[in-house]
Amino acid sequence: MKQNILKILPVKTKPVITLTEVSYSVNGVVILEDVSLQINEGCYLGVVGPNGAGKTTLLRLILGIIKPDKGEVLIYGQKPEEYLKSEPVGYLPQRISQVIYEFPITVEELVKSGFETIERDSLQWALDVFRISNLRRKPLRELSGGERQKAFLARAIVSKPRILLLDEPTTGIDPTSRDELLQILENLNRDFGITILVVTHDIGTFAHEAKCLLCLNRRVVCLGEPQKILKEEYMRMLYPEHIVFPHRDD
Protein backbone atom coordinates (compact mmCIF):
# COMPACT_ATOMS: atom_id res chain seq x y z
CA MET A 1 0.00 0.00 0.00
CA LYS A 2 1.24 3.46 -0.86
CA GLN A 3 2.30 5.27 2.31
CA ASN A 4 1.48 8.94 2.22
CA ILE A 5 1.23 9.84 5.88
CA LEU A 6 1.46 13.42 6.96
CA LYS A 7 3.07 13.72 10.35
CA ILE A 8 1.72 16.21 12.78
CA LEU A 9 3.63 18.04 15.46
CA PRO A 10 5.11 17.31 17.93
CA VAL A 11 7.26 15.06 15.73
CA LYS A 12 9.39 13.60 18.51
CA THR A 13 6.53 11.87 20.29
CA LYS A 14 5.00 8.54 19.35
CA PRO A 15 2.01 8.20 17.03
CA VAL A 16 -1.41 8.11 18.68
CA ILE A 17 -3.83 8.11 15.76
CA THR A 18 -2.85 7.00 12.26
CA LEU A 19 -5.07 7.16 9.20
CA THR A 20 -3.71 5.58 6.03
CA GLU A 21 -5.45 6.44 2.75
CA VAL A 22 -8.85 6.41 4.39
CA SER A 23 -11.92 6.90 2.20
CA TYR A 24 -15.55 6.89 3.28
CA SER A 25 -18.73 7.40 1.30
CA VAL A 26 -22.47 7.17 1.93
CA ASN A 27 -24.76 6.01 -0.90
CA GLY A 28 -22.05 6.82 -3.44
CA VAL A 29 -21.44 10.34 -2.05
CA VAL A 30 -17.81 10.73 -1.08
CA ILE A 31 -17.44 12.13 2.44
CA LEU A 32 -13.70 11.58 2.86
CA GLU A 33 -11.19 10.60 0.23
CA ASP A 34 -7.63 9.34 0.64
CA VAL A 35 -7.06 10.92 4.02
CA SER A 36 -3.69 10.05 5.50
CA LEU A 37 -2.43 11.53 8.72
CA GLN A 38 -0.54 10.73 11.82
CA ILE A 39 -1.36 12.50 15.04
CA ASN A 40 1.37 12.24 17.63
CA GLU A 41 1.19 12.13 21.40
CA GLY A 42 0.56 15.47 23.09
CA CYS A 43 -0.83 17.12 19.96
CA TYR A 44 -3.63 19.69 20.30
CA LEU A 45 -5.19 19.65 16.87
CA GLY A 46 -7.98 21.84 15.56
CA VAL A 47 -9.89 20.31 12.65
CA VAL A 48 -11.51 23.00 10.49
CA GLY A 49 -13.42 23.02 7.24
CA PRO A 50 -16.76 23.97 5.72
CA ASN A 51 -20.03 22.12 6.37
CA GLY A 52 -19.95 18.67 4.80
CA ALA A 53 -16.14 18.60 4.79
CA GLY A 54 -16.13 15.31 6.71
CA LYS A 55 -14.93 16.64 10.08
CA THR A 56 -17.43 14.74 12.23
CA THR A 57 -17.01 11.69 9.99
CA LEU A 58 -13.27 11.81 10.72
CA LEU A 59 -13.94 11.58 14.46
CA ARG A 60 -16.45 8.76 13.98
CA LEU A 61 -13.93 6.84 11.86
CA ILE A 62 -11.23 7.29 14.50
CA LEU A 63 -13.60 5.90 17.13
CA GLY A 64 -14.62 2.97 14.92
CA ILE A 65 -18.29 4.00 15.04
CA ILE A 66 -18.18 3.74 11.25
CA LYS A 67 -15.74 1.72 9.17
CA PRO A 68 -13.78 3.15 6.23
CA ASP A 69 -14.55 1.89 2.72
CA LYS A 70 -10.85 1.88 2.09
CA GLY A 71 -7.73 2.39 4.15
CA GLU A 72 -6.95 1.85 7.80
CA VAL A 73 -7.43 3.66 11.11
CA LEU A 74 -5.22 2.82 14.07
CA ILE A 75 -5.09 4.09 17.67
CA TYR A 76 -1.75 3.38 19.31
CA GLY A 77 -1.18 0.75 16.61
CA GLN A 78 -4.46 -1.05 17.27
CA LYS A 79 -7.79 -1.05 15.47
CA PRO A 80 -10.21 1.31 17.29
CA GLU A 81 -12.45 -1.51 18.55
CA GLU A 82 -9.43 -3.34 19.99
CA TYR A 83 -8.05 -0.19 21.61
CA LEU A 84 -11.42 0.72 23.15
CA LYS A 85 -11.64 -2.70 24.83
CA SER A 86 -8.69 -1.77 27.01
CA GLU A 87 -8.96 2.00 27.29
CA PRO A 88 -11.70 4.56 26.72
CA VAL A 89 -11.40 7.64 24.55
CA GLY A 90 -12.88 10.87 25.89
CA TYR A 91 -15.54 12.01 23.44
CA LEU A 92 -18.01 14.85 23.16
CA PRO A 93 -20.36 14.49 20.19
CA GLN A 94 -21.82 17.43 18.32
CA ARG A 95 -25.42 16.84 19.36
CA ILE A 96 -26.79 15.21 22.46
CA SER A 97 -30.44 14.24 22.77
CA GLN A 98 -32.48 16.92 24.55
CA VAL A 99 -34.35 14.24 26.51
CA ILE A 100 -31.49 13.92 28.94
CA TYR A 101 -32.09 17.54 29.94
CA GLU A 102 -35.73 16.78 30.76
CA PHE A 103 -34.88 13.76 32.88
CA PRO A 104 -33.79 14.19 36.51
CA ILE A 105 -30.17 13.10 36.22
CA THR A 106 -27.51 14.84 38.29
CA VAL A 107 -24.12 16.02 37.11
CA GLU A 108 -22.44 13.34 39.25
CA GLU A 109 -24.66 10.59 37.80
CA LEU A 110 -23.87 11.75 34.27
CA VAL A 111 -20.12 11.98 34.86
CA LYS A 112 -20.01 8.46 36.38
CA SER A 113 -22.32 6.90 33.80
CA GLY A 114 -21.00 4.01 31.76
CA PHE A 115 -18.07 3.10 33.98
CA GLU A 116 -18.06 0.06 36.25
CA THR A 117 -15.98 1.88 38.84
CA ILE A 118 -14.87 5.46 39.02
CA GLU A 119 -12.62 6.33 41.93
CA ARG A 120 -13.79 9.18 44.10
CA ASP A 121 -10.55 11.07 43.37
CA SER A 122 -11.04 10.80 39.59
CA LEU A 123 -14.60 12.07 39.86
CA GLN A 124 -13.50 14.99 42.02
CA TRP A 125 -10.62 15.75 39.63
CA ALA A 126 -12.91 15.82 36.57
CA LEU A 127 -15.41 18.07 38.35
CA ASP A 128 -12.62 20.35 39.60
CA VAL A 129 -11.01 20.63 36.16
CA PHE A 130 -14.23 22.03 34.71
CA ARG A 131 -15.04 23.95 37.91
CA ILE A 132 -18.40 22.30 38.46
CA SER A 133 -17.86 20.60 41.85
CA ASN A 134 -20.55 22.84 43.32
CA LEU A 135 -23.03 21.51 40.74
CA ARG A 136 -22.44 17.79 41.31
CA ARG A 137 -25.85 17.13 42.90
CA LYS A 138 -27.80 19.44 40.61
CA PRO A 139 -29.97 17.94 37.85
CA LEU A 140 -28.87 18.77 34.30
CA ARG A 141 -32.27 20.33 33.61
CA GLU A 142 -31.45 23.10 36.09
CA LEU A 143 -28.13 24.02 34.43
CA SER A 144 -27.26 26.55 31.74
CA GLY A 145 -26.00 25.46 28.31
CA GLY A 146 -22.39 26.16 29.27
CA GLU A 147 -22.69 24.22 32.54
CA ARG A 148 -24.22 21.24 30.74
CA GLN A 149 -21.38 21.30 28.23
CA LYS A 150 -18.88 21.27 31.09
CA ALA A 151 -20.70 18.33 32.68
CA PHE A 152 -20.37 16.31 29.45
CA LEU A 153 -16.71 17.35 29.14
CA ALA A 154 -16.11 16.19 32.73
CA ARG A 155 -17.74 12.89 31.69
CA ALA A 156 -15.28 12.72 28.78
CA ILE A 157 -12.19 13.04 31.00
CA VAL A 158 -13.28 11.24 34.17
CA SER A 159 -11.60 8.00 33.10
CA LYS A 160 -8.37 9.97 32.53
CA PRO A 161 -8.13 9.07 28.82
CA ARG A 162 -5.00 9.68 26.77
CA ILE A 163 -7.10 10.94 23.85
CA LEU A 164 -9.90 13.51 23.83
CA LEU A 165 -12.09 14.00 20.74
CA LEU A 166 -14.42 17.00 20.84
CA ASP A 167 -16.96 17.90 18.18
CA GLU A 168 -17.89 21.59 18.25
CA PRO A 169 -17.39 21.98 22.02
CA THR A 170 -17.92 25.76 21.97
CA THR A 171 -21.24 25.73 20.11
CA GLY A 172 -24.09 27.43 21.97
CA ILE A 173 -22.08 28.80 24.88
CA ASP A 174 -21.34 32.43 25.69
CA PRO A 175 -17.90 34.02 25.07
CA THR A 176 -16.91 33.95 28.77
CA SER A 177 -17.69 30.23 29.10
CA ARG A 178 -15.95 29.61 25.76
CA ASP A 179 -12.75 31.31 26.92
CA GLU A 180 -12.84 29.37 30.19
CA LEU A 181 -13.34 26.13 28.27
CA LEU A 182 -10.44 26.85 25.92
CA GLN A 183 -8.18 27.59 28.88
CA ILE A 184 -9.12 24.27 30.49
CA LEU A 185 -8.43 22.35 27.26
CA GLU A 186 -5.03 24.01 26.96
CA ASN A 187 -4.25 23.04 30.57
CA LEU A 188 -5.34 19.42 29.97
CA ASN A 189 -3.05 19.23 26.96
CA ARG A 190 -0.09 20.92 28.63
CA ASP A 191 -0.30 19.53 32.17
CA PHE A 192 -1.61 16.02 31.53
CA GLY A 193 -0.28 15.42 28.01
CA ILE A 194 -3.73 14.50 26.70
CA THR A 195 -3.85 14.39 22.91
CA ILE A 196 -6.79 16.59 21.89
CA LEU A 197 -8.67 16.79 18.59
CA VAL A 198 -11.25 19.53 18.33
CA VAL A 199 -13.60 19.78 15.37
CA THR A 200 -14.70 23.38 15.05
CA HIS A 201 -16.07 26.12 12.85
CA ASP A 202 -14.47 28.62 15.20
CA ILE A 203 -11.29 28.83 13.16
CA GLY A 204 -10.26 32.23 14.61
CA THR A 205 -10.32 31.02 18.20
CA PHE A 206 -8.64 27.70 17.64
CA ALA A 207 -5.94 29.30 15.49
CA HIS A 208 -4.72 30.80 18.77
CA GLU A 209 -5.38 27.77 20.97
CA ALA A 210 -4.42 24.68 18.98
CA LYS A 211 -0.84 23.67 18.32
CA CYS A 212 -1.81 22.43 14.86
CA LEU A 213 -4.62 22.99 12.41
CA LEU A 214 -5.95 20.42 9.99
CA CYS A 215 -7.95 21.92 7.13
CA LEU A 216 -10.31 19.34 5.76
CA ASN A 217 -12.56 19.47 2.75
CA ARG A 218 -13.20 15.82 1.95
CA ARG A 219 -9.44 15.61 1.52
CA VAL A 220 -6.65 17.07 3.60
CA VAL A 221 -6.26 20.60 2.24
CA CYS A 222 -3.42 21.54 4.54
CA LEU A 223 -2.11 20.94 8.03
CA GLY A 224 0.54 22.36 10.25
CA GLU A 225 1.12 25.14 12.73
CA PRO A 226 -1.71 27.71 12.68
CA GLN A 227 0.47 30.66 11.66
CA LYS A 228 1.63 28.73 8.59
CA ILE A 229 -1.85 27.53 7.72
CA LEU A 230 -3.85 30.73 8.07
CA LYS A 231 -2.83 32.06 4.69
CA GLU A 232 -5.08 33.32 1.95
CA GLU A 233 -4.23 30.52 -0.48
CA TYR A 234 -5.23 27.80 1.96
CA MET A 235 -8.32 29.60 3.18
CA ARG A 236 -9.51 30.11 -0.40
CA MET A 237 -9.12 26.37 -0.99
CA LEU A 238 -11.11 25.67 2.14
CA TYR A 239 -13.84 28.30 1.82
CA PRO A 240 -13.77 29.38 -1.86
CA GLU A 241 -17.15 31.10 -1.73
CA HIS A 242 -17.04 32.89 1.57
CA ILE A 243 -13.61 34.18 2.50
CA VAL A 244 -13.01 37.85 1.80
CA PHE A 245 -9.53 39.08 2.55
CA PRO A 246 -9.01 42.83 2.94
CA HIS A 247 -7.27 44.17 -0.14
CA ARG A 248 -4.09 46.05 0.49
CA ASP A 249 -2.96 48.64 -2.08
CA ASP A 250 0.49 49.36 -0.64
Binding site: L84, I96, V99, F152, A156
Partner: protein, 264 residues
Amino acid sequence: MIEIFELNIIKRAFIIVSVIAPLAPLFGVFLLIRRYAFLADTIAHVGFLAIALSLFLGINSLSVLIVLSIAVSVSVEQLRSKGRFPAEGSLSFFLYAGVAISVLFITFSHNTGSIMNILFGSLSTVTRQDVYLILAGALLCGAFLLRYHKNLLNLCIDEEIAHASGINTSKVKILFAVTVALSISISIKTMGALLIGSLMIIPPLTAMQICRSLRSTAVASIIFSLFSAYSGIFLSFYSGIPLGASISSILIALFLISFIIRLF
Protein backbone atom coordinates in the same frame (compact mmCIF):
# COMPACT_ATOMS: atom_id res chain seq x y z
CA MET B 1 -60.71 -9.17 54.19
CA ILE B 2 -58.74 -12.26 55.25
CA GLU B 3 -60.52 -14.58 52.79
CA ILE B 4 -59.04 -12.77 49.79
CA PHE B 5 -55.59 -14.12 50.73
CA GLU B 6 -56.93 -17.69 50.83
CA LEU B 7 -57.66 -17.66 47.12
CA ASN B 8 -54.97 -19.17 44.92
CA ILE B 9 -55.47 -16.61 42.14
CA ILE B 10 -54.89 -13.78 44.61
CA LYS B 11 -51.77 -15.45 46.02
CA ARG B 12 -50.47 -15.82 42.46
CA ALA B 13 -51.36 -12.24 41.63
CA PHE B 14 -49.41 -10.98 44.65
CA ILE B 15 -46.38 -13.11 43.75
CA ILE B 16 -46.45 -11.90 40.15
CA VAL B 17 -46.89 -8.20 40.84
CA SER B 18 -44.13 -8.41 43.46
CA VAL B 19 -41.68 -9.22 40.65
CA ILE B 20 -43.12 -7.34 37.68
CA ALA B 21 -43.98 -4.10 39.50
CA PRO B 22 -40.34 -3.26 40.39
CA LEU B 23 -38.98 -4.42 37.01
CA ALA B 24 -41.36 -2.68 34.62
CA PRO B 25 -40.68 0.93 35.72
CA LEU B 26 -36.93 0.33 35.82
CA PHE B 27 -37.06 -0.63 32.15
CA GLY B 28 -39.37 2.34 31.66
CA VAL B 29 -36.71 4.73 33.01
CA PHE B 30 -34.23 3.56 30.38
CA LEU B 31 -36.87 3.57 27.62
CA LEU B 32 -37.78 7.16 28.47
CA ILE B 33 -34.16 8.35 28.46
CA ARG B 34 -33.65 6.60 25.13
CA ARG B 35 -36.83 8.17 23.70
CA TYR B 36 -38.13 4.68 23.09
CA ALA B 37 -41.19 4.47 25.33
CA PHE B 38 -43.32 3.50 22.32
CA LEU B 39 -41.46 0.16 22.23
CA ALA B 40 -43.48 -0.96 25.27
CA ASP B 41 -46.74 -0.43 23.36
CA THR B 42 -45.45 -2.13 20.24
CA ILE B 43 -44.28 -5.21 22.11
CA ALA B 44 -47.55 -5.29 24.07
CA HIS B 45 -49.58 -5.30 20.84
CA VAL B 46 -47.40 -8.07 19.46
CA GLY B 47 -48.17 -9.85 22.73
CA PHE B 48 -51.85 -9.48 21.88
CA LEU B 49 -51.07 -11.27 18.60
CA ALA B 50 -49.22 -14.02 20.47
CA ILE B 51 -52.16 -14.65 22.77
CA ALA B 52 -54.61 -14.58 19.85
CA LEU B 53 -52.40 -17.10 18.03
CA SER B 54 -52.32 -19.30 21.14
CA LEU B 55 -56.13 -19.18 21.39
CA PHE B 56 -56.37 -20.15 17.73
CA LEU B 57 -53.90 -23.05 18.06
CA GLY B 58 -54.84 -24.02 21.62
CA ILE B 59 -51.27 -23.90 22.95
CA ASN B 60 -49.53 -22.27 25.99
CA SER B 61 -49.88 -18.59 25.38
CA LEU B 62 -47.04 -17.33 27.60
CA SER B 63 -44.35 -19.36 25.78
CA VAL B 64 -45.57 -18.07 22.38
CA LEU B 65 -45.77 -14.58 23.81
CA ILE B 66 -42.18 -14.61 25.06
CA VAL B 67 -40.73 -15.98 21.81
CA LEU B 68 -42.70 -13.66 19.51
CA SER B 69 -42.08 -10.55 21.64
CA ILE B 70 -38.35 -11.14 21.79
CA ALA B 71 -38.20 -11.78 18.02
CA VAL B 72 -40.01 -8.51 17.26
CA SER B 73 -38.07 -6.47 19.82
CA VAL B 74 -34.73 -7.65 18.43
CA SER B 75 -35.94 -7.01 14.85
CA VAL B 76 -36.98 -3.45 15.74
CA GLU B 77 -33.57 -2.84 17.34
CA GLN B 78 -31.72 -4.25 14.34
CA LEU B 79 -33.76 -2.11 11.92
CA ARG B 80 -33.10 0.96 14.07
CA SER B 81 -29.37 0.26 14.35
CA LYS B 82 -28.91 -0.33 10.65
CA GLY B 83 -30.87 2.81 9.83
CA ARG B 84 -33.19 0.93 7.47
CA PHE B 85 -36.30 2.56 8.99
CA PRO B 86 -36.83 5.49 11.31
CA ALA B 87 -37.37 4.09 14.84
CA GLU B 88 -40.98 5.32 15.00
CA GLY B 89 -41.68 3.77 11.59
CA SER B 90 -40.60 0.26 12.51
CA LEU B 91 -42.39 0.48 15.88
CA SER B 92 -45.63 1.56 14.19
CA PHE B 93 -45.33 -1.16 11.56
CA PHE B 94 -45.03 -3.96 14.13
CA LEU B 95 -47.76 -2.44 16.31
CA TYR B 96 -50.34 -2.32 13.50
CA ALA B 97 -49.24 -5.68 12.13
CA GLY B 98 -49.67 -7.18 15.61
CA VAL B 99 -53.20 -5.82 16.01
CA ALA B 100 -54.35 -6.64 12.48
CA ILE B 101 -53.10 -10.22 12.45
CA SER B 102 -54.38 -10.90 15.97
CA VAL B 103 -57.88 -9.81 14.89
CA LEU B 104 -57.62 -12.34 12.02
CA PHE B 105 -56.80 -15.14 14.44
CA ILE B 106 -59.50 -14.08 16.91
CA THR B 107 -62.10 -13.99 14.11
CA PHE B 108 -61.39 -17.63 13.27
CA SER B 109 -60.89 -18.78 16.82
CA HIS B 110 -63.64 -20.62 18.71
CA ASN B 111 -62.49 -19.41 22.12
CA THR B 112 -62.91 -15.62 22.18
CA GLY B 113 -64.35 -15.29 25.66
CA SER B 114 -61.09 -14.08 27.17
CA ILE B 115 -60.47 -11.10 24.86
CA MET B 116 -61.22 -8.62 27.67
CA ASN B 117 -58.67 -10.43 29.85
CA ILE B 118 -56.06 -10.20 27.09
CA LEU B 119 -56.63 -6.51 26.56
CA PHE B 120 -57.00 -5.30 30.13
CA GLY B 121 -55.47 -8.00 32.33
CA SER B 122 -57.01 -10.44 34.77
CA LEU B 123 -56.41 -12.08 38.11
CA SER B 124 -57.57 -15.42 36.82
CA THR B 125 -55.69 -16.14 33.59
CA VAL B 126 -52.29 -16.85 35.14
CA THR B 127 -51.69 -20.56 35.60
CA ARG B 128 -49.29 -22.24 38.03
CA GLN B 129 -47.02 -23.05 35.06
CA ASP B 130 -47.12 -19.36 34.07
CA VAL B 131 -45.95 -18.36 37.55
CA TYR B 132 -42.75 -20.39 37.14
CA LEU B 133 -42.11 -18.90 33.70
CA ILE B 134 -42.76 -15.38 35.01
CA LEU B 135 -40.39 -15.87 37.96
CA ALA B 136 -37.67 -17.24 35.66
CA GLY B 137 -38.15 -14.36 33.22
CA ALA B 138 -38.06 -11.80 36.01
CA LEU B 139 -34.86 -13.33 37.33
CA LEU B 140 -33.20 -12.94 33.92
CA CYS B 141 -34.41 -9.35 33.54
CA GLY B 142 -33.24 -8.47 37.06
CA ALA B 143 -29.83 -10.05 36.44
CA PHE B 144 -29.46 -8.03 33.23
CA LEU B 145 -30.29 -4.75 34.97
CA LEU B 146 -27.97 -5.55 37.86
CA ARG B 147 -25.06 -6.35 35.55
CA TYR B 148 -25.56 -3.76 32.81
CA HIS B 149 -27.42 -0.78 34.31
CA LYS B 150 -24.35 1.50 34.18
CA ASN B 151 -23.59 0.63 30.55
CA LEU B 152 -27.26 0.88 29.68
CA LEU B 153 -27.56 4.35 31.17
CA ASN B 154 -24.62 5.57 29.13
CA LEU B 155 -26.02 3.92 25.99
CA CYS B 156 -29.40 5.57 26.55
CA ILE B 157 -27.81 9.00 27.11
CA ASP B 158 -25.71 8.81 23.96
CA GLU B 159 -24.75 5.74 21.96
CA GLU B 160 -21.56 7.27 20.53
CA ILE B 161 -20.27 8.33 23.96
CA ALA B 162 -20.96 4.80 25.18
CA HIS B 163 -19.02 3.38 22.22
CA ALA B 164 -16.05 5.69 22.93
CA SER B 165 -16.13 4.50 26.55
CA GLY B 166 -15.43 0.97 25.38
CA ILE B 167 -18.97 -0.34 25.92
CA ASN B 168 -19.99 -3.11 23.52
CA THR B 169 -23.06 -1.17 22.40
CA SER B 170 -24.32 -3.85 19.96
CA LYS B 171 -24.39 -6.48 22.72
CA VAL B 172 -26.03 -4.21 25.30
CA LYS B 173 -28.67 -3.05 22.77
CA ILE B 174 -29.63 -6.61 21.87
CA LEU B 175 -29.72 -7.72 25.52
CA PHE B 176 -31.86 -4.68 26.32
CA ALA B 177 -34.24 -5.50 23.47
CA VAL B 178 -34.52 -9.11 24.68
CA THR B 179 -35.10 -8.23 28.35
CA VAL B 180 -37.57 -5.41 27.61
CA ALA B 181 -39.59 -7.89 25.53
CA LEU B 182 -39.29 -10.51 28.26
CA SER B 183 -40.40 -8.10 31.00
CA ILE B 184 -43.43 -7.07 28.92
CA SER B 185 -44.28 -10.68 28.04
CA ILE B 186 -44.32 -11.83 31.63
CA SER B 187 -46.51 -8.88 32.62
CA ILE B 188 -49.12 -8.98 29.85
CA LYS B 189 -51.44 -11.58 31.37
CA THR B 190 -51.70 -9.57 34.57
CA MET B 191 -51.72 -6.05 33.15
CA GLY B 192 -53.30 -6.66 29.75
CA ALA B 193 -51.88 -5.88 26.32
CA LEU B 194 -53.29 -2.38 26.20
CA LEU B 195 -52.14 -1.35 29.66
CA ILE B 196 -48.75 -2.97 30.32
CA GLY B 197 -47.08 0.18 28.93
CA SER B 198 -48.66 2.16 31.74
CA LEU B 199 -46.81 0.14 34.41
CA MET B 200 -43.52 0.81 32.60
CA ILE B 201 -43.93 4.47 31.74
CA ILE B 202 -46.28 6.17 34.23
CA PRO B 203 -44.28 5.42 37.45
CA PRO B 204 -41.06 7.04 36.07
CA LEU B 205 -43.09 9.96 34.70
CA THR B 206 -44.67 10.39 38.13
CA ALA B 207 -41.30 10.20 39.88
CA MET B 208 -39.77 12.69 37.42
CA GLN B 209 -42.20 15.33 38.69
CA ILE B 210 -40.84 15.28 42.22
CA CYS B 211 -37.32 13.76 42.05
CA ARG B 212 -34.03 15.48 41.25
CA SER B 213 -31.74 12.52 40.55
CA LEU B 214 -31.82 9.32 38.56
CA ARG B 215 -31.38 7.18 41.65
CA SER B 216 -34.31 8.77 43.49
CA THR B 217 -36.41 8.59 40.30
CA ALA B 218 -35.76 4.86 40.03
CA VAL B 219 -36.53 4.21 43.71
CA ALA B 220 -39.70 6.35 43.66
CA SER B 221 -40.84 4.63 40.43
CA ILE B 222 -40.59 1.24 42.10
CA ILE B 223 -42.50 2.45 45.16
CA PHE B 224 -45.30 3.99 43.03
CA SER B 225 -45.47 0.87 40.89
CA LEU B 226 -45.63 -1.54 43.85
CA PHE B 227 -48.20 0.59 45.67
CA SER B 228 -50.41 0.77 42.56
CA ALA B 229 -50.03 -2.94 41.85
CA TYR B 230 -50.92 -4.13 45.36
CA SER B 231 -53.82 -1.71 45.79
CA GLY B 232 -54.93 -2.52 42.23
CA ILE B 233 -55.39 -6.17 43.19
CA PHE B 234 -57.80 -5.19 45.98
CA LEU B 235 -59.62 -2.72 43.73
CA SER B 236 -59.97 -5.33 41.01
CA PHE B 237 -61.11 -8.05 43.42
CA TYR B 238 -63.79 -6.00 45.13
CA SER B 239 -64.99 -3.92 42.16
CA GLY B 240 -64.70 -6.39 39.29
CA ILE B 241 -62.65 -3.91 37.24
CA PRO B 242 -59.98 -5.75 35.18
CA LEU B 243 -56.65 -5.82 37.04
CA GLY B 244 -54.68 -3.82 34.45
CA ALA B 245 -57.29 -1.07 34.44
CA SER B 246 -57.33 -0.96 38.26
CA ILE B 247 -53.55 -0.64 38.52
CA SER B 248 -53.40 1.93 35.70
CA SER B 249 -56.14 4.04 37.29
CA ILE B 250 -54.18 4.22 40.55
CA LEU B 251 -50.99 5.06 38.63
CA ILE B 252 -52.77 7.91 36.86
CA ALA B 253 -54.09 9.25 40.17
CA LEU B 254 -50.55 9.21 41.60
CA PHE B 255 -49.25 10.99 38.52
CA LEU B 256 -51.84 13.74 38.85
CA ILE B 257 -50.99 14.21 42.53
CA SER B 258 -47.24 14.49 41.82
CA PHE B 259 -47.89 16.80 38.87
CA ILE B 260 -49.90 19.13 41.12
CA ILE B 261 -47.20 18.94 43.85
CA ARG B 262 -44.63 20.03 41.27
CA LEU B 263 -46.76 23.00 40.24
CA PHE B 264 -46.70 24.29 43.81
